[in-house]
Symmetry: C3
Subunit: 337 residues, 3 copies
Amino acid sequence: MSTKSFSLEEINQVIKGIIVGATSQKITAPQQLETATENEISFIGNKKYERLWQDSNACVAIVNEDIAIAPGENRAFIKVKNADLALAQVLELFAGTPPLFHQNIHPTAVIDASAVIGENAEIGANVYIGPKAVIGKNARIYPNVTILDESTIGDRTVIWSGSVVRERCHIGTDCIIHPNATIGADGFGFRPCPERGLAKIPQIGNVIIGNWVEIGANTCVDRGKFSSTIIGDGCKIDNLVQIGHNSVLGKYCIMAGNSGLAGSVTLGNGVIIGGSASIKDHTTIGDGATVGAGSGVTGDIPAGKVMLGYPAVEARDALKQWAILKRLVRESGEKKA
Amino acid sequence: MSTKSFSLEEINQVIKGIIVGATSQKITAPQQLETATENEISFIGNKKYERLWQDSNACVAIVNEDIAIAPGENRAFIKVKNADLALAQVLELFAGTPPLFHQNIHPTAVIDASAVIGENAEIGANVYIGPKAVIGKNARIYPNVTILDESTIGDRTVIWSGSVVRERCHIGTDCIIHPNATIGADGFGFRPCPERGLAKIPQIGNVIIGNWVEIGANTCVDRGKFSSTIIGDGCKIDNLVQIGHNSVLGKYCIMAGNSGLAGSVTLGNGVIIGGSASIKDHTTIGDGATVGAGSGVTGDIPAGKVMLGYPAVEARDALKQWAILKRLVRESGEKKA
Amino acid sequence: MSTKSFSLEEINQVIKGIIVGATSQKITAPQQLETATENEISFIGNKKYERLWQDSNACVAIVNEDIAIAPGENRAFIKVKNADLALAQVLELFAGTPPLFHQNIHPTAVIDASAVIGENAEIGANVYIGPKAVIGKNARIYPNVTILDESTIGDRTVIWSGSVVRERCHIGTDCIIHPNATIGADGFGFRPCPERGLAKIPQIGNVIIGNWVEIGANTCVDRGKFSSTIIGDGCKIDNLVQIGHNSVLGKYCIMAGNSGLAGSVTLGNGVIIGGSASIKDHTTIGDGATVGAGSGVTGDIPAGKVMLGYPAVEARDALKQWAILKRLVRESGEKKA
């Protein structure tokens, strides 16, 4: 990935742990214990992976304080208070440079005369920015992005190629919108209509996204029918997620890939939605609740509950349902035998 | 959302109901009863929401004829035959203007010399329109759309940014293709092949979309292996939906977010597919049938049936299965106790 | 679809079978038996469809050697060893031309001075190709594609419009990337963080895609946290599929629409994942295993196993579970009666 290399000591200048053992190896990349070569650095955050150190070729491991391993010959480890944080710091160290903008605004970008572009914002080739749109300071808008009229993008926010932000939507500061995401498409609302079966209900609201939010690749956040679809500060939304119109997410919610909220769903703070789970419209999910992968939620969930299954029930009951089904299959086999 | 405002009487000129009570408030936006401020107008389409009127701050409500509320001081309501229709009309009234095209064809659009562009069609920045493509009158093609060779787009159809219409596909009149949708990608067909495991079966058909159709953001409609994948008039397809090759949808079908049809599925007229549901290939679903959210359909469904569950069974049987599982869990708890 | 036509003999020059019967019809298109007109050619690969020949209007059928039908008046059939292969060859014969590039590199394409473009590669309108990217010989990059810094695209690979390949990703030869696919977006990784709830873990790896791979429309393959997300030679990935960071797919795997792999999933060779199925993170699935549509896999699967259900169990046990649930519903009805 990278042509950088660091000594054990150089790495420890960043993560500020305690070195045990020593190594003369130049460290060229982070890697998992199982696949690391002798020039690579690895991580042990959990005691159950301790045993992998001995057979690993990694010359260095960053470990939590409770991990008990021996350094070995020309190998070392670094004890830290928080291996997760240290891992993030080491990844930063080895990270390649982000894609290059030769100049702040590429000459092929089409920027309406009434749009406002913040200081040091970078805008790539073939980007379109519509009338009265506002791009924050130090924002990065990659090639082939479309931002329509009167939308605003906060300072330092990054919008990757292929994404579309429709008119009058607002994205906060320090957000990342991954490639081919769609922000502000019409909500899905129709009314019966004698002439044509179904007639469109105008969707005149918008989308408001807080600060520190990530929206995954090819994910869709629909605009409100009226008022706004709202994504709170610090939410992390994975790829291919559907967020229906007028849904409101609190702070720090996580939605994993292929999951979906039908319209007017309300999530509290810190809600976790597993991959491929789907939530019925007009449902309210309390602070800190968790919905397991693949679940289908059909009713409100109180704060802190862990729900699982299709339809979703409390996780311990879902596990019991599954155990009972397995037992019934086993018994039916025995009966025949 | 909007800087417009209307008096009670101005709104009633559009929806033509019967005013009960009076208000001097300027009405600035539509809003839900629970969150409305005193300058906002709300809606009551169902008797169960009647009770919310008293505590709402909305100055006006549009209500169906069977709703029994009292106007109150400086508040009014408007009785109408069809609150859904009146809501749509009021939303239209408050709607912002659509994104602006300064001129009919943006100078950065790349339009092949052999393409035909209809009268008053608007074509945005960085759009590509290939050889022999035909764009209808008053169509709106937003920035960064790609329409490949010989495809045709009907009059008044809107194609939002990032969408791709591959070669030789046909979209009717008055359609809306939401951002980043893909129309006419190859169907998913392979044959075993000794040298490379799997060899591609050419997908030489196309996609034909009727009139008044909506295709959701990041939704995919694959082209036929031979002949066509067909979406009938008035179908409404939500975001992130997969429609496999050679599927045929009748009129006025609804497919909710994250749902999918494998190849060669046939839907009659008025079929409703819930969110995240998936339908096996070569399945036929009759007119007016409904598939519940999250269901997995593995066989044909007669007209009018309501199916639910994974695998899908008649909805009343799915509900019974779920009740039985809950009872078995309860009983197993009692047995242990 | 096509304005081509061929005689029975011209078609047999390509598929080299044995003609039984004769027809003077000009053959203008391939079609299914049920919907074919008298100028169309059809296919019978399986004895159960034999009976459809008599009522079909098709003038010619291509059939496997074990199919027993009579030619009839002015109709014929062609016996072949491999009807699948013959079908592919006939589809090729009737295929329309791919979208036209008037010149190798469209003048509106933005190609960095340090990028390397292979001989006869075709690059469409409004494409962006970043610094040090390498495009192989005879590759076709359709309009509005974005390929970021240092990524490489193999010889003869086709990238359809709207797709995004982020920096430092590598795609092999003879691949097809369908429209609006996203290759190399950040993996979904966060760590708890006191100030902002969740902090991003840098995703410094990349994506490596082998040869003969297809990536479906609007499908996402995330880059590794460190090292690479790997898709082996000959894999065929359908539309709207999520492949999480650091997943590794062997050769010739198939993933159907709307399915997903959470992070660090390992698939052996020839694994088949059904539509809408989802696989838990850090799961290993052995060579030749199959996961049925809609399944939720929560643990490792040995080679060759067929798994089904949510949560997934061996397919025969899933079928038994479903049969038992149906029986319990039936019995509960009888008890009440």
